[in-house]
Amino acid sequence: MHLPPEVSGTERCVLRGEYPALTALARWCADLARAHQLTPRRAHALDLCLTELVTNVIDYAYPAADPAHIVVDAQPAEGDLVVTLWDAGPAFNPLEHAAPTPAADLSEVRIGGLGIDLVRKFASRISYARVGHWNRLRFTPNG
């Protein structure tokens, strides 16, 4: 299995790109939050942002019949946390997509884009890079 480069001091979670992985991801987030004594607010932001981003990869980046891996790295730093998500889908920068405009009523609600909108609101220092054949999205969950 070919995986992205690992930096020392990071904790890594390797997932198969299909829905059952969401259960393992939630457990990993809870363990990480406990081990690093994250505030409840930051622990929720970590779980929410990763759930949204991993779901997007499963839904849009990988063929259902042959999902590749998704790798999550977390690097704790002085009460802070830098999270890196790697996927092997086609090059895609979710940050290039404009935030949805607020709908005035239910008939106008845009169904797409809600997930990345939540990530923008619950994380900071969000950045994207294409590294080899990996999409790399990095963020800090808000505490």
């Binding site: 829905y19 008939s107 809600l114 939540l118």
Partner: protein
């Protein structure tokens, strides 16, 4: 996820999902949720007390059901959200589109009084 649907005495449909409302959880409940919330004219209160996590896929289920319900002349309200779930509702401005109440009783009172029409 699990879901409980009850018809309250005064003709309000009480829907209580429980568990983690991510893509996996919503797969479990989307059909019974939509059947209870969006297939006829009704007053619907979604009791979020047992929902411990809400992702955008859950918001989409609320929006699509509330829209179908509105088209049938019904109304939906959300109630009793836990803090993490409330934070997601706040961040996405859901209250502009679906009324949100601290308790199921307050939601029911508003639906009965016709007040659960946002804006």
């Amino acid at each position: 996820m699990k879901i409980a649907v009850n018809q309250l005495a005064d003709d309000i449909v009480h829907i209580a999902p429980s568990g983690r409302m991510d893509a996996l959880g919503v797969e479990d409940i989307s059909i019974p949720f939509t059947a209870a919330a969006a297939t006829r004219k009704a007053l619907v209160v979604v009791d979020l007390a047992q929902v411990d996590f809400l992702a955008s896929v859950g918001l989409r289920l609320f929006f699509s059901s509330a829209r179908a319900l509105q088209q049938r002349g019904g109304r939906m309200a959300l109630a009793a959200a836990q803090p993490d779930v409330g934070a997601v509702l706040d961040a996405t401005g859901v209250a502009q589109l679906i009324s949100i109440y601290p308790t199921v009783d307050e939601a029911c009172a508003a639906l009965r009084g016709g007040a659960a029409n946002p804006i």
